[in-house]
């Protein structure tokens, strides 16, 4: 159990490793990586395992170029040190010029601290617990709509819907009649294969959220997170957060929680369909296995594959010299599969007593919605397994991958 001191010697991939990579993936993933390459979608886990096992610091030549670290200790070294690895340059590599920054995710202290300490109470375990009944009810509404059909396309009919309902109904309190277009806007705005559509839907959600925040700022307060964001925070220099910062906070909170949980939820259902013995454990003894299963699914089905930081100074990382301004990505999905900290890291096993993972990130930008995500997953698995304890896969799932990973379709029947 004791945590081993950080290894200071890093082994580089050998020529044989590089040759094998070219043979298996059609490219040198260690020196010529591309998050958006189709092969990273198709051979996702195999590539993650090679990165984490064989190469401490991976390089990509795409655009301006970027680096990636996957080992658990290196991901923490970056994530836990905002002074050297700043979030203020954005979390995406090759970020398009002119794109507005999302606060607090794309900021450092003290701006980050000002927002985060005000936002945290609205997403803490105590407040989130209050949403449980509504989320369970919503899970059952979605199950009602599919149960008699004997089959469903689980992503569009459940997994892409429930997280949106949970967030928009409980956290934002938007009118119910706007739910469908918002859920579709976030989902298509993040994952649509048609990039024009992606931009249009994203634009719609931005516009909606900006208008909603304005409207709420003129209404009597409800005492919720939206009121707090509309009111804004006071920065360290005494200035009030500008209106556009407040809108960006609302956008950040919205996109952070909705398009991500879908992947864990749908992947877990796919896996449970194909592993009836472990599914039976969950059905028979949820008290023991549900908490373990939720963490194990978050560990192996990481929706946030990697987020980046900008070096604020020349720094040595994982045995490689990086320069001020270099962009380095933390591969959370890899850090959760690091055999140095997880036994049998490639095996999915919901009976693991302890699960160490980095699915919600590390450091001050730790996912603020982690408590809500866990509740959505628990409500889904408990209600679905209670009402549909046996189901099977009709058509294998399809995925989309980049710095996020999601499932496009999953056809199941019972």
């Amino acid at each position: 159990m004791a945590f081993k001191a950080q290894e200071t010697e890093y082994t580089q991939p050998t020529q044989a490793d590089v040759d094998e990579s070219i043979r298996k993936y059609g490219r040198d993933i260690y020196n010529d990586f591309d998050l958006d390459a189709p092969v990273f979608n198709d051979q996702h886990f195999e590539i993650l395992d090679d990165l984490v096992e064989k190469c401490p610091v991976v390089h990509s030549t795409v655009g301006k170029g970027y680096y990636l670290v996957s080992q658990n200790t290196l991901v923490r070294e970056v994530g836990q040190n905002w002074r050297t690895f700043s979030a203020a340059g954005g979390y995406m590599p090759n970020r398009p010029d002119g794109l507005p920054f999302l606060y607090p995710e794309e900021s450092d202290p003290p701006v980050h601290t000002s927002w985060r300490q005000e936002l945290n109470p609205f997403m803490g375990p105590k407040v989130i617990k209050g949403y449980e009944e509504q989320i369970r009810e919503d899970a059952n509404i979605l199950i009602d709509a599919i149960i008699d059909k004997g089959k469903c396309e689980f992503v569009s009919e459940f997994a892409a819907v429930l997280p949106g309902w949970a967030f928009f109904k409980n956290v934002l309190g938007v009118p119910v009649e706007d739910l469908d277009k918002l859920v579709d806007g976030v989902e298509s705005g993040t994952f649509s294969p048609d990039l024009d559509e992606r931009g249009r839907k994203m634009g719609f959600v931005f516009q909606y959220l900006g208008d909603y925040l304005k409207k709420r700022s003129e209404e009597p307060p409800r005492g919720d997170m939206v009121d707090m964001i509309a009111e804004g925070v006071t920065y360290e220099d005494g200035s009030k957060s500008p209106w556009e910062h407040r809108v960006s906070v609302l956008v950040d909170m919205t996109f952070g929680g909705i398009a991500t949980t879908t992947y864990v939820m749908a992947s877990a259902i796919n896996w449970l369909a194909e592993n009836p013995e472990q599914r039976k454990l969950l059905v028979d003894d949820p008290e023991t296995y549900m908490p373990r299963a939720i963490e194990e699914f978050a560990r192996v089905f990481a929706p946030v594959v990697a987020l980046g930081r900008t070096c604020t100074r020349d720094v040595e990382l994982g045995g490689r010299q990086l320069k001020e301004g270099d962009f380095v990505m933390m591969v959370y999905a890899g850090a959760s599969r690091d055999p140095r900290v997880v036994d049998e890291a490639k095996t999915i096993d919901i009976t693991r007593e302890t699960v160490l993972h980095s699915a919600f990130g590390v450091g001050i930008h730790r996912c603020i919605g982690s408590n809500l995500a866990r509740l959505e997953l628990r409500a889904t698995f408990e209600e679905l397994l209670r009402r549909i304890p046996e189901f099977h896969v009709v058509e294998p799932p399809t995925h989309v991958s980049g710095f996020l990973r999601s499932m496009r379709t999953l056809k199941i029947a019972w």
Binding site: F3, N120, P121, P125, T354, V355, H357, V362
Partner: protein
């Protein structure tokens, strides 16, 4: 046995960031506040007899690896 949870002053160093995993894993020993942060962060506390395994398990799942066990 003692447990020390690092606090991470000003975010400039490693510390508790409120994942809450310790309390989920071993609620008989670890507690979090309403925001999800370990209530004993920044302190070194004695582990009551019988809760040594709980203390170890909670430390083992901390994503920040900031719970130190002193045997």
């Amino acid at each position: 046995m003692k447990v020390h949870i690092e606090v991470g002053v000003d975010g400039g160093q490693q510390g508790c960031t409120g994942h809450g995993r310790c309390a989920m894993m071993a609620g008989e020993f670890y507690e979090v506040d309403d925001d999800g942060y370990a209530i004993h962060r920044g302190e070194t506390v004695d582990v009551p007899a019988g809760l040594e395994d709980a203390a170890r398990y909670g430390a083992g799942v901390c994503p920040e690896r900031v719970i130190q066990i002193e045997e």
